[in-house]
């Protein structure tokens, strides 16, 4: 069997988290009624002119600085001309000749091995609108998204597997979310990518013919689409045919890529500098100001969490690598002291709830106030760690405060040693066989008695006290 290698380059499209659009003052908020976030400029009315949203530039520059790229202090906008109903002006304003960001590098890690992926460039452009077919007599056009700022990040063709592609996109996701360049919400299309894929025989110098898979919008689909495409291309070549250079779409339901109709993309975009927009100049002072507001990045958080909060390396790793978890953790720490317990709850029970519902922590009902309150209830001995899980699930569902939950459902820990002793006496008297077996050397039965105590108290017995009293009783 011939041995193959693949060469992948990614174009990541990042929707910038600006309040308003790239060239108009219309809002960028997601999920509004069709054509409500649209002004004169967005619908390309005769006589309107674009004006530049400098915030989009600042976000692009933040990204550029984070990946150690060159910032082009003079950058130009060009027009990409093609006809499509969701493209109101008949051209898209983008950056061709002089993008805001040139070069840069992103580090990825695959099974412990680090690799640098170099970037070609990152440029600003406006998004198009959306064609709507469902529930319409004919086709509708929604221009809410038209003009939303995108940063297109183009990698060099240095990615050599679908796994690396996913790691690369995750790294991009981490950078843009930490820097508040984008909300990174893939289900809302804030981060998507096009993948250029080709294969060649191992050791060949020349690149094979590439295909471009358009608009992949989840990490899982990136991996699947690229793997499918690699195998397809190898099959084509091994069957004696050659790969056609074309644009393909990934169908996630059938798990396959298929060619787009040639009419779905134009060939000659007739790029030229947009005469409505002067070159955009960025001063040294503006760049310095952006640098000064640079947030702490995951690597630094990872180190600080261990030294400042003394949490385990693994916890620090998981929390620091997600913008949402890190922010949540840090906000909780403002109201609680037990970092270890907090991190344990976040990467344990909270993470499994998030995974189960497949949502981000900011989209859940959990508030930092409630979680820090929960941690405090445990550290103050009001509830046990076991009850904490129950309370967490309740506050997860209802959004109610843990104190309220504990009070209204009597989940408060039993700290009264006399009461615990009374319960233990009762259990010992009910299980004479187990008592004699334990005394005869079956140490493991200790756990059985603990279980009985927790059962009898619905988990509310203070575990330390219960253990101590039980041991005293059984050993004497």
């Amino acid at each position: 069997m011939m041995s193959w290698e693949c060469v992948i380059g990614l174009e990541a499209h990042v929707q910038l988290s600006t309040e308003t659009k790239l060239f108009s003052r219309a809002s960028t908020s997601f999920g509004e009624e069709p054509n409500t976030n649209v002004n004169l400029v967005d619908c390309g009315l005769p006589g309107v002119l674009p004006t530049v949203n400098k915030n989009a530039f600042y976000k692009a520059i933040r990204f550029g600085l984070a990946v150690d790229a060159d910032i082009n202090q003079t950058s130009l906008f060009d027009r990409k001309n093609y006809f499509y109903p969701d493209l109101p002006k008949g051209y898209q304003i983008t950056q061709m000749e002089l993008p805001i960001v040139s070069g840069g590098k992103v580090e990825i890690e695959i099974e412990g091995a680090k690799k640098i992926i170099n970037l070609t460039r990152a440029h600003l452009e406006e998004d198009a609108g959306k064609s709507i077919h469902e529930g319409m007599d004919g086709t509708g056009v929604d221009l809410n998204r038209a003009g939303t700022p995108l940063l297109e990040i183009v990698s060099e063709p240095e990615i050599s597997s679908a796994k690396e592609a996913v790691a690369y996109m995750k790294a991009i996701h981490q950078i843009v979310t930490f820097l508040d360049v984008s909300d990174g919400n893939m289900s809302q299309g804030s981060l998507r990518c096009d993948a250029n894929v080709s294969v060649r025989k191992k050791g060949d110098e020349e690149l094979g013919t590439r295909t471009e898979i358009k608009n992949i919008n989840s990490f899982r689909f990136i991996e699947k689409a690229i793997n499918y495409e690699i195998e397809r291309q190898i099959d084509v070549i091994e069957s004696g045919e050659s790969v056609t250079q074309e644009t393909r779409l990934y169908d996630s339901i059938k798990n396959e890529t298929r060619p787009m109709r040639s009419k779905e993309f134009a060939n000659d975009y007739r790029y030229f500098p947009d005469p409505d927009l002067l070159p955009v100049m960025i001063s040294d002072a503006e760049i310095e100001e952006i640098k000064a507001t640079f947030p702490e990045m995951p690597k630094d958080k990872f180190v600080r969490y261990q030294s400042e909060f003394n949490i385990p390396e693994n916890d620090a790793q998981i929390i620091s690598s997600s913008k949402n978890l890190a922010t949540f953790f840090e906000e909780c720490m403002e109201n609680t002291k037990d970092a270890k317990l907090l991190s344990n709850i976040i990467i344990g029970d909270i993470s499994s709830l998030l995974n189960k519902e497949n949502i981000e922590i900011i989209d859940s009902k959990l508030s930092t106030k409630n979680v820090s309150e929960l941690v405090n209830l445990v550290t103050e001995g009001v509830i046990s760690g076991k009850i904490a899980k129950t309370v967490l699930e309740e506050t997860w569902d209802s959004g109610l405060s843990p104190i309220e939950i504990v009070e209204s459902s009597g989940l408060k820990q039993i700290d009264d040693d006399d009461e615990i002793e009374r319960i233990i006496d009762q259990i010992i008297s009910e299980h004479p066989d187990q008592v004699s077996a334990y005394k005869g050397g079956k140490d493991k039965l200790f756990g059985f008695f603990v279980g009985q105590i927790m059962k009898a108290t619905q988990g509310k017995a203070n575990p330390a006290s219960a253990n101590k009293i039980l041991k005293d009783k059984l050993d004497n």
């Binding site: 619908c43 009315l45 005769p46 006589g47 004006t51 006809f83 109101p88 008949g90 000659d268 030229f272």
Partner: protein
Amino acid sequence: MQFKTIKEINAGLVSKKFSAEEFIKDTFDLINKNKVLNCFISLNEENALAKAKKIKVSKDSHLLSGIPIAQKDLFCTKGTKTTCGSKMLENFNPPYSSKVVDALDAAGSICVGKTNMDEFAMGSSNETSFFGNVHNPWKKGFVPGGSSGGAACSVAAGLVPAATGTDTGGSIRQPAALCGLTGIKPTYGRISRWGMIAFASSLDQAGPICRTAEDCSILLDAMSGYDSRDTTSLNLDSTNTFADLNKPYENLRIGVVDEFNIDALNRESQKLFNESLKVFESLGASIHNISLPNINQSVPTYYVIAPAECSSNLSRYDGVKFGHRSLEAEDLESLYINSRSEGFGDEVKRRILIGTYVLSAGYYDAYYKKAQQVRRLIKNDFEEAFKEVDLIVSPTSPSEAFGFGSKGTQDPTELYLEDLYTISSNLAGLPALSMPHGFVNGLPVGIQLIGNYLEESMILNFANRFQQSTDFHNAKPTFEGF
């Protein structure tokens, strides 16, 4: 009431010789009596009269208060049709007004209607308009020039004292010249392009057409000024050219361009040109020969850049959102093809095709990029020249007005040469004015003054002094053949 200047109407309003309402009523009588000229695409009678009724003019009012003006039909006017002279926008009612319209409204002037023009401002004779030819008031069946042909006609016929125009390659100055009027295209960026329907964005600039340089300065001052909605708008205060009309500009050096080859003009035009130079000298100016080595590349350079920009600017007219939509469409592609084929006229299509071609892969470097480089050279030539002289003078157009259909029907590029003298100031972004300086075959012709960047005051000041010592601007059209 006919043939009054802004200054004269203002004097009448201030002294209560007539009210704004009376004057506007008379204006509409005049307009309606002269419908044959076809200089208006639509009238704004009801709104104009309502506004006039409310206006009280005193000596403290803006000079434009109560003054009727005509707007070229490519300035968006909220709620009233703005056609750009095209079938494509025959029924387009913009939901907003252009900066120019708002600024002139705010100054108190009264928009009486929207003037006829070459389709999307592409043409030099007003013959490409979907709404028909416009007659030159000096001679029936003769063109008023273009693209601001309706604007020039409405002022030349004495219906209104002032009209707005736009100038991409001469569209204010050439019709002003052919109709015996004064018109100025200011420095690129002086007047906001917000709401001015684009032909070629890097060349388009609005400006006034009036009977006198003095009136032009009143209008220009009101139209100009920074507008944050147009990033190409210059971040400067409005011009102050009216106040500067009395400023002494001594010993101006005036350049005559060798490459314009004045000797090759017909004898009559040559004679007029030389006579005007004598007037200039009598005003204290000195005449110098200068060279603009790349100036003869202006027309070909322009006819690459302007169509390139237009091909992209006009892409939005696709039958999807606004403008003409074909009823013959079966699918998306035929919707595009049929809507655009039916909605645009021949000259617009010709320029879209040229523009699409010069921007295409493989041709971009040879045409568009090269043209931009030559444009830079032309700009440099002017920058050098303005180290030696204060103003540059030339004829405005190669000839006087011509009959309908007599130019460019066989070879459209014949008509492109109408812009020979005017195009270079658009390419360089320089301010330039045309004013009447005599007659050829009984028809008015104009002389052009090009100034350095932002020197509108100097240009208008000098033109005003020229008009104080000549009488060409007072000539009234003969209405021959009407």
